[in-house]
């Protein structure tokens, strides 16, 4: 059973290697030493992440059942703290400073909400296979958990970080779907959301509206909001089949592509490694996600299964939205590519989630 742990760690580390290579490439031409050394920091994050992974893989995931509400409260208080003390970067208040480490509480909130949802929709009795949700009425199946989810989601969207907020919302819907909630409820709920969307438009910030408009037609404002999409598409497209080669991507290195080492690292990577490289990367992500679902499928514990599903879903939603946004298929929202984008919080949370996943598979035999 150690197998799963090793496979997951191996795939994750492989992706991280590609990440470090790309981060190095996108920053080595910068003037300042601090920028050039950014890849070293990522190596540190990955190393610490791997340690976290191994720790989590050895903590019985059932303990999270007991810690759920504690974790929930902790993440909410961090989000509130961000509001009060957070540092403002790129026009958003998303980070908390811990000494030399900038921590992004919304990343932590994601995993906490996954744990919360898994707990909410399952029962402690491991022997019962039947799901609770099927018996729940509208109120308990939908409204109550929605209130729990809406609180952190609202706080995150107010940062403003529409992307992470939307991911949490997606997570909620998909966990609802996977925990066998009545389809009727889900559809009603979605219908309600759709009718409310036009009103939501007014609550969006101007830059968010711009981005949505630009997503529909990037040529409206090629030097303003559309610039990033166009440059990102150029970066990916100019890679061709074999790519331009490592350290030879002009788009990322000459800084035509903004955020080349964070949100748009996929474009940086594709420019230098081409379709071939992107194929490898997508394959690695796919088998990682597939592994997650596999673990969920063979876990009989209801909480464990929902947790595994939640983690896998969280991963796949982020990967898909980020890559789609790099290619201009999705509006630009600040979502990092897990394990690829530069950033400690994202790396840590991803490794923690994978650690939980590994432990679910490991603990399976115990029950």
């Amino acid at each position: 059973m150690k197998n799963s742990t090793l496979t997951i760690l191996l795939i994750a580390l492989l992706i991280c290697t590609l990440s470090i290579i790309s981060i190095f490439s996108s920053t080595y031409q910068r003037d300042s030493q601090a920028w050039q050394n950014i890849y070293q920091r990522q190596i540190l994050w990955v190393f610490l992440g791997a340690v976290l992974f191994l720790i989590l893989a050895n903590i019985n995931y059932r303990r999270f059942w007991d810690w759920t509400y504690l974790l929930y409260v902790i993440s909410i208080s961090f989000l509130v703290l961000v509001f009060l003390l957070g540092s403002v970067r790129l026009g958003a208040q998303r980070w908390l400073r811990f000494g030399w480490f900038n921590f992004q509480p919304s990343e932590l909130a994601k995993i906490c909400i996954v744990i919360f949802l898994a707990r909410y929709f399952s029962r402690k009795d491991t022997h019962s296979v039947s799901s609770l949700t099927e018996k729940y009425g509208f109120l308990r199946a939908l409204l109550l958990p929605l209130l729990f989810v809406a609180l952190p989601m609202g706080l995150i969207i107010e940062q403003p970080d529409l992307g992470t907020g939307l991911i949490i919302f997606f997570l909620f819907i998909s966990v609802l779907f996977l925990s066998n909630a009545k389809l009727k409820y889900i559809l009603t709920f979605l219908g309600l959301i759709l009718t409310l969307t036009p009103f939501a438009w007014h609550f969006l910030r101007d830059y968010q509206k711009d981005r949505l408009m630009v997503f529909l037609n990037p040529n409206i404002d090629p030097l303003g909001a559309g610039y990033t999409v166009i440059q990102s598409k150029i970066a990916i497209g100019s890679g061709g089949f074999f790519g331009k080669g490592w350290l030879s991507g002009t788009q990322s290195q000459l800084r035509f592509l903004p955020e080349a080492h964070t949100d748009f690292i996929f474009a940086t990577f594709s420019e230098e490694w081409g379709l071939l490289g992107a194929l490898v990367l997508l394959f690695l992500y796919y088998i990682l996600i597939r592994r997650g679902f596999l673990i969920a499928q063979r876990t009989s514990d209801h909480f464990g299964r929902l947790l595994a599903l939640g983690v896998s879903l969280m991963l796949s939603i982020q990967v898909i939205i980020n890559i789609a946004m790099n290619m201009g298929f999705a509006p630009i929202v600040g979502i990092p590519l897990p394990l690829m984008s530069y950033g400690g919080s994202s790396v840590f949370v991803t490794f923690i989630s994978l650690g939980i996943l590994a432990n679910i598979d490991k603990s399976r035999a115990v029950f």
Binding site: G240, Q251, S270, Y285, L309
Partner: protein
């Protein structure tokens, strides 16, 4: 379980969609995006070579090239800092507000160095160059431009330079011409633009997102254009131009044996320099001038030939044996043809061919023309090179026109009357000729019966063009007939009543023919065409004064020219 399956399938499908999207971006549209990527980061800063020089027959530069200095700014930030604007305008001595506005307008948001002010003089260039110490984005760039050491001299031969127009661009695109290229308009600059033009070189370099240079990718040195040597003697050209003193007209001086043009002028002239300076008010003044200074009247202006045309009638009659040396007609001041009286300008009495040429007797030639017939006159005129272009290597040459009974019938279905023949005989009617055509005709008599093809280019890039020239064409006139006409031509100058007797006092024997071509309602055009020295002709000269009165006026100009040539020892 089924819901998990559905989710797994959905995720797998999305991954496939992403892959398809990637394939579309990177493989199907890869080339387009690659091009866009290169356009993003590769910049080309062009460097011009100098245009080929145009030199005269002795190697004196008529159109050369000098350095011009341009003020360039490499945009770094926007807007342009006020302080540097102030400093730049102070050096240029311009109104600060206006200049600042102009600077702002040309100052772009992105990357490439832009020319803000061009054609600085050396002092300004040095002063601005020093500003570079304080404002590193200022640069003074040197750039070869045309210079004209003789200012307006030979302007029509040279032509002028300007930005390529759409019509020329569509024609020349295949030869590597691009928009905004500077090309020749008119004259040698246009005719031999392909040789004169320089090959653009430049530096290509990589820039980052802010447009500052990262590294140089390549350098191609510019290649200078090839020099063109003319057959013009600039000293002679100056003499001729000064003789005109801005009166409307044209003159040609040509070697009668080879057809090499030694001076060719059209008046009024223009300053080709104005087109370089891109001073719109000066240029538009040239374009709107009613005197049409841009037209090269020597080859592009057509005028009635007047009495000059009598030589055509004379040679036609002699060659067709209608008359001989001693045949004579009586001039009583006019001749009745049909129902109309055709006047002579004087009453000459008994005239033979020689005195008729010398005194330009109209009545003699009315009779002679009627004797020969209009169609034959037309044929001889064409033989002598009228009604088609001479083939000189200058653009925009006009063909002129010689009427004939046949042509009139074909084109207007009207009849031809004897009156028309009489008119044709003295070069009126619809006869239209260019000064160069007249000079070419005169060469035939000067050189003993050869029709030459005039040319003005001696060599290109040091290589002679003799191989490509048309040989003089023998017209098979009888030597004795030519001699008779030559005698008449000499008589014009040497006889007491000769129309060109004003030229008799010169130290060189001149022969020629005057012409006073009616151009109602304006004043008549004054012609003089001749050759000298009479015994061994070395120069054919043709002078035309547009609306300049009687032919006598042109004789005065010719006299001035020949006198000056004698003084400067050019003969």
């Amino acid at each position: 379980m089924t819901r998990i399956r559905i989710t797994i399938w959905a995720i797998g499908l999305t991954f496939l969609l992403l892959l398809a999207g990637l394939f579309n971006l990177e493989v199907i549209h890869g080339r387009v995006f690659k091009g866009l990527g290169e356009r993003n980061c590769i910049r080309l800063l062009s460097q011009r070579g100098s245009r080929g020089k145009i030199i005269d027959r002795n190697g004196v530069v008529i159109a050369g090239s000098r350095m011009s200095y341009d003020l360039m700014l490499t945009p770094q930030e926007y807007p342009l800092p006020q302080e540097s604007i102030a400093r730049i305008t102070r050096v240029l001595g311009k109104n600060q507000k206006e200049a600042a506005k102009a600077l702002e307008r040309k100052y772009p948001l992105f990357s490439m160095p832009v020319t803000i002010v061009s054609n600085l003089d050396l002092k300004e260039a040095v002063a601005l160059g020093q500003l570079r110490l304080e404002f590193p984005y200022i640069a003074v760039w040197d750039n070869p431009v045309r210079s004209y050491p003789y200012s307006r001299a030979a302007c029509h031969i040279l032509g002028y330079l300007g930005q390529i127009d759409r019509w020329r661009l569509t024609k020349l695109e295949d030869y590597g011409y691009k928009t905004k290229d500077v090309v020749g308009f008119g004259g040698i600059e246009e005719k031999y633009d392909f040789y004169l033009r320089d090959e653009e070189g430049g530096v290509s370099f990589q820039v980052d997102h802010r447009g500052s240079m990262v590294r140089t990718l390549g350098f191609k040195p510019p290649v200078n254009g090839k020099d063109v040597q003319l057959t013009i003697d600039i000293k002679l050209q100056k003499i001729v131009e000064e003789a005109f003193a801005e009166r409307k007209g044209a003159a040609v001086i040509m070697n009668p044996y080879t057809g090499e043009v030694m001076a060719l002028t059209s008046s009024p002239g223009f300053s080709p320099e104005f087109f370089i300076r891109e001073d719109n008010s000066l240029v538009s003044r040239i374009f709107n001038d009613p005197a049409a200074p841009l037209i090269n009247r020597a080859i592009g202006g057509v005028y009635p030939a007047g009495s000059i045309f009598k030589l055509v009638v004379a040679i036609a009659a002699l060659e067709n044996k209608k008359i001989n040396r001693i045949s004579s007609f009586l001039c009583q001041g006019s001749l009745r043809v049909g129902k109309q009286d055709f006047k002579c300008w004087d009453t000459h009495g008994q005239q033979n061919i020689i005195s008729a040429i010398a005194q330009s007797c109209n009545v003699f030639f009315y009779r002679l023309g009627l004797l020969v017939g209009a169609q034959i006159i037309h044929d001889y005129a064409t033989k002598l090179g009228f009604a088609h272009s001479t083939g000189i290597d200058l653009p925009y040459e006009k063909q002129g026109f010689i009427p004939s009974p046949l042509l009139r019938k074909l084109s207007t279905l009207k009849g031809w009357f004897d009156g028309d023949t009489a008119n044709l005989s003295i070069g009126q009617s619809e006869v239209l000729v260019t000064p160069l055509q007249v000079a070419r005709m005169m060469s035939v008599f000067a050189n003993g019966g050869y029709l030459v093809t005039p040319y003005i280019t001696k060599s290109i890039d040091g290589k002679g063009l003799d191989r490509y020239r048309k040989k003089p064409e023998k017209l098979n006139f009888k030597q004795e007939n030519i001699d008779i006409i030559k005698e008449g031509l000499r008589g014009t100058v040497s006889y007491q009543g000769g129309t060109g007797s004003v030229l008799s006092g010169l130290k060189v024997e001149v022969a020629g023919k005057t012409g006073t071509a009616q151009a109602p309602p304006k004043q008549s055009h004054a012609w003089f065409c001749g050759f000298f020295p009479f015994k061994e002709p070395r120069f054919v000269i043709c002078v035309l004064l547009e609306n300049g009165g009687p032919g006598y006026n042109s004789c005065l100009i010719a006299k001035k020219i020949i006198e000056e040539m004698l003084i400067q020892g050019l003969i």
